[in-house]
Each structure stands twice: as C-alpha cells, then as structure tokens.
C-alpha cells in the first residue's frame, strides 16, 4: 500500500536533522520558494487534500479564504489530538517532527504567514521536548527564522501547550485557548480565515494535513490526486484500536475497504470473537454494525453510510460487549468535556448519561429510548458547537443498530417499576 507519511516512519533517528535531510527532508523548500505563494495554494487545492483532523474541509480552499491584504496573519497547527481512538498525530510528531515543521513552513509561505504556533495538547509534554529540539535544529539550519534560504521569506515557529480540554481541538476554542482564555468556542462568523488569532486572519490545520504538504510540493498535486477516490484523494492515517490483534496507526489509500483495515492490517478480532460494531472516525461519528464492514474507507462512502470519516480512528468492537456500556462511556466523555457554555450540551449530555446509567442499573423505563431519541433531536444542530452533535452520534447510532442491547436491560427491570 502506498505510504506517504509513514514511508520511513520507523527509521532510526528520523527525528534528527541529519537523518531527515538524508531522506530528502526540507528539499521542498527550495522548490516552493521558486514558485509564487499562490501557486502552492493552487497545488494544494488541485491535490484534493482535505483536512485530516476531523472536518474534512478542503485544505487549499481553506487557505484561499484568508482575508486579502490583512496582516499580520497566523498559522496554527492543531496538535490537540483528543478525539477518542485517535493517536496518529502523536506518532507523527514523536518520530518525524521535521515533517510537520517542513509542512508548516510551506503552508506559511503559501499563505504569506510569518508566525506559526503549534498547539499541542497539554499532556504531550514529551512530544513538546522533541518538537522544540527539532525546531531548534531547523533554526540552526536556517529553515526557520529570517530570510529562509535567501528567499526573503521569514517564518517564526513556536509551540504552545494546552492544559487538558478536548474542546480545544475545535479550531475556534483552540484560538481562544491560545489567547489565554477559557477554551470556549467562538461565534462563527467571523471565521478564523478572516478573524482568527488575535482577530487576525489565521489558518488552523491538523498535524497530518500539514505533513502531507511537502509531498505535494515535491511530487506534484497530480501524483497525490492519483491516489484515492473521486472526492477523497490521497492517503489517510488510521488509528485502529479496540478489539483487534494488531492495534496501531496504519496509512491507507482512501477508498480501501474497511474490511481490509480491520482484518488485514490490524489482524482481525482476537479470542475468536466476532465483529459486532465499529466506529470509523473517532467516537464523535455514528457507529456502524458489522454488516457494513465492506463500506469503503473514504469521505463520501462513509457519508453515504450515514457516518463520517472524521479524525481517522477505527474503534473496533466485538460481540463480547453490550453496546450500551460502550455508549455510556462515550456519553460520559462528552459530559466531562462539555465546556458548559450552551444549555443543550451542558444539560443534555448529563441527562443522557443519567438515563443510560439508569438503564444499566436495570431501572430503565420503556419510554427511555423514545425519550433519548427526542433529547438527541433537541440537541442535534441546536447547540453552540458540534460537541453536542458528537455526543448524539453514539446514542442515535447505537439505538438504531443495537436496540436489542438496550432491550436486554429492560428485560431485567422488575415489573413493579415499569
């Protein structure tokens, strides 16, 4: 399978400047500086690269939205990686930090940005050390700082650590957090491309997205676009976890059947259990039952199947599990991570938790399912940001496909309390 991001990922000392340069690292800079910034933006557009953090928004298009002639402008790399099931950015930064730096320099050049911040989640302290060392080396080599490679282009890069809040992975909450505030999302419009960091035009991109850019500059947009499907170009890192024999981060060409990812790459289900369900894009997307395992792994196929590609985390669940328990754990996550700003999310996540908890205590009423569906309807697309929608995903999909798991619990409810 074509490997772009993971080509050398396990090479020894890839995180050092010496080895990285030996592998062709940073050669894209010269190539880029010979072009106009707008040409790079066009190339990224043509490549079909979509945001790899979860939203899947075309990257080149996002870059082109930057408010014209407004300076200074900023680049923020979203390394907040907190979506349950997702750990791909961690591997990228741990083993190949220079690739991210190179990608950020190219993006900054293309968007005429002179200052960049890499927002890492607070728990990535060890990765921060690695990133800072890599940046130090990049500065020493003149890849960062003033007049990079004599191009006249300046770019300063800094890292910034968060402090434990999933919501800060949402781009506007990330910006608020970077500005030293509570990580509550902002009203949109205005969008970050117009008023982002410090109210200036800002590009916010995921780690993986930025890591792809050197390839596009080196090999050309067509080559990247030759991989994948019509609407999902290129490759995607997938973090496969849960009930699989070989959990890990795998790079797949978009359009690969999910069956291949689960059974071939990740070795299938251990302990002779059978696949029951899988969540294809991190916990915030609807889950699918085992009979959907032949769906292709790309944005449009998954959308057609009623779910999303999301962050690229395949969570595999076997038939030893009652889905209700899993759902409760996920609702609990969203309840903890809700920022509390808006009523439907703050109250709704907690109410859903209370209801499912009651069900699992064998005290659920028969109308709970209908009630939950209605609560989800009152939360979905009515809250300030998509976190409420993320909480709704596992609830609605688990009821849709695994209603019987819920009904298991009702069987145990003493007659008198019904």
């Amino acid at each position: 399978m074509t490997q772009i991001l993971f080509k050398n990922i396990n090479m020894k000392d890839l995180h050092t400047m010496k080895v990285y340069e030996e592998q062709g690292g940073y050669r894209s800079l010269k190539k880029a500086f010979a072009q106009k910034p707008e040409e790079i933006v066009e190339a990224v557009k043509a490549s079909g690269l979509r945001g790899r953090g979860g939203a899947g928004f075309p990257a080149g298009l996002k870059w082109s939205f930057l408010a014209k002639d407004v300076f200074p402008r900023y680049l923020c790399c979203n390394a907040d990686e907190s979506e349950p099931g997702t750990c791909k950015d961690r591997e990228l930064m741990l083993k190949n930090p220079h690739m991210l730096i190179e990608g950020m320099i190219l993006c900054a050049y293309a968007c005429r940005i002179e200052t960049g911040y890499n927002y890492l989640r607070g728990e990535f302290h060890d990765l921060n050390v690695i990133m800072e060392k890599a940046m130090e080396d990049a500065y020493a080599k003149g890849y960062l700082g003033k007049n990079i490679l004599g191009s006249g282009f300046n770019f300063d890069l800094y890292t910034h650590l968060g402090a434990g809040a999933y919501i800060c992975g949402e781009e506007s909450a990330l910006l608020n957090s970077l500005e030293g505030e509570r990580g509550e999302p902002r009203m949109k419009p205005p969008f970050p491309a117009v008023e982002g960091l410090y109210a200036k035009p800002t590009v916010v991109n995921n780690v993986e997205t930025l890591c792809v850019v050197p390839y596009i500059v080196n090999e050309g947009a067509e080559k990247y676009a030759s991989l994948g499907t019509e609407k999902s170009k290129g490759t995607k890192l997938v973090s496969v976890s849960g009930h699989v024999k070989k959990p890990g981060n795998y790079e797949v060409v978009l359009g690969t059947p999910i069956r291949e990812i689960i059974y071939d790459l990740a070795g299938g289900i251990p302990n002779d259990n059978k696949l029951k369900a899988f969540i294809p894009g991190g916990s915030s997307v609807p889950m699918l039952p085992a009979d959907q395992v032949d769906v292709l792994y790309d944005y449009e196929s998954l959308a057609a199947a009623g779910t999303m590609l999301g962050s690229g985390a395949m969570i595999v669940i076997d038939d030893s599990v009652n889905i209700v328990e899993t759902t409760l754990r996920l609702i609990s996550f969203y309840m903890h991570e809700s920022c509390g700003k808006c009523t439907p999310c703050r109250e709704g996540t907690r109410w859903l938790y209370q209801i499912v908890e009651k069900i699992m205590q064998n005290k659920g009423q028969l109308d709970y399912i209908e009630k939950m569906e209605d609560i989800c309807d009152n939360m979905n697309m009515k809250a300030f940001c998509p976190l409420a929608d993320a909480c709704v995903s596992p609830v609605v999909s688990s009821i849709k496909y695994f209603r019987s798991d819920y009904e298991e619990y009702f069987k145990n409810v003493p007659v008198s309390s019904v």
């Binding site: 907190s82 349950p84 910034h160 402090a163 959990p247 754990r329």
Partner: protein, 158 residues
C-alpha cells in the same frame, strides 16, 4: 494571604514565555503550567502573582485555571497517575486494571496516598489508543498495561 513569589529562574522562564507572543494574554496557560509543575497545584496566592504579571484580575486567572483539567487546586502527589478509561481502553479491560491499581496503592480513585507519593485519577482519552490500556504518570506514557506491568512500573518509581 501570604504572597507567592516567582524564583529568579522562573522569572527568566517567564520572560522567555512572554517573548513568544505578540500579546501578553497568551502567556496565561504557560504561566499556570509553570506554577502547577513547580508547586504541584495552583494556589490562590499563585493566582494573584500570575494576575499581576498578566495585568488582569485574579478572578480571571481562576476562571481560566478552573476550566482545564491539568490544573489542580489541591496539591497532587509526586506522581500523578492519569488512568485512561475512554472507549479503546475500556474495550481492552482498563476498568479492572484501574481497580487493581487503586487497591495496590491503597486508595480510592481520585485520592492521594498518605505519603503524598501517588495521586490516582481517571482520565479521558490521552491519545495512546493503539497501546490500550494505558496510563500517564507525570510526563511518561505507559501502554499495553497488565497487572504485572502496572506493579512493575509503580515499584520502579521512588
């Protein structure tokens, strides 16, 4: 309230932090983190000191501090154990292992050992799902946990 003062070294670090941003306000999280790591908690006195550096009110500092889970009002032990209980880890049996860990330390989840050595908390996804179940102790990640491995790790920390 007796005051909290930054050490000379910390002052240097703070200057370095301020230099990274065009606006002072971005230094809020870095300063809180600095204090949390040094003191193992962020006290009201420290918040006042930070507010003076940041030219904002202590209430604002407290507002930001109380939002993020990595800042603690109560002192945490020398080793803060964050045990992931999110979906991938749950599917791989973290609940039982967490119970085991709590029993081994002789405390309930959320508590600190009497000698202030260990604090044990549940934590949401820490981004090591492919090595589930996992835990984070101070700055180190430990994955592929079993009862045996947990025992080894805890015993190795002094």
């Amino acid at each position: 309230m007796s005051g909290f003062t930054f050490s000379a070294e910390q002052e240097k670090e703070i200057e370095h932090i301020f230099a990274k941003y065009p606006f002072k306000k971005s230094a809020m999280l870095p300063l809180l983190t600095l204090v949390q790591r040094a003191e193992r908690r962020v006290s009201p006195e420290a918040m006042v000191a930070i507010s003076k550096k940041m030219d904002c009110s202590p209430a604002y500092v407290q507002s930001v501090m109380s939002f993020y889970t990595m800042y603690h009002a109560e002192k945490v032990g020398n080793y803060l154990i964050l045990f992931c209980i999110n979906i991938s880890c749950q599917l791989n049996g973290c609940d039982k292992l967490l119970e085991y860990t709590a029993k081994k330390l002789g405390i309930k989840v959320g508590e600190t050992t009497p000698d202030e050595k260990f604090t044990l908390h549940r934590e949401e996804c820490l981004a090591l799902c492919t090595e589930a179940p996992m835990m984070r102790i101070n700055d180190t990640y430990y994955g592929d946990l079993t009862e045996q491995r947990i025992g080894q790790i805890l015993d190795s920390l002094d």
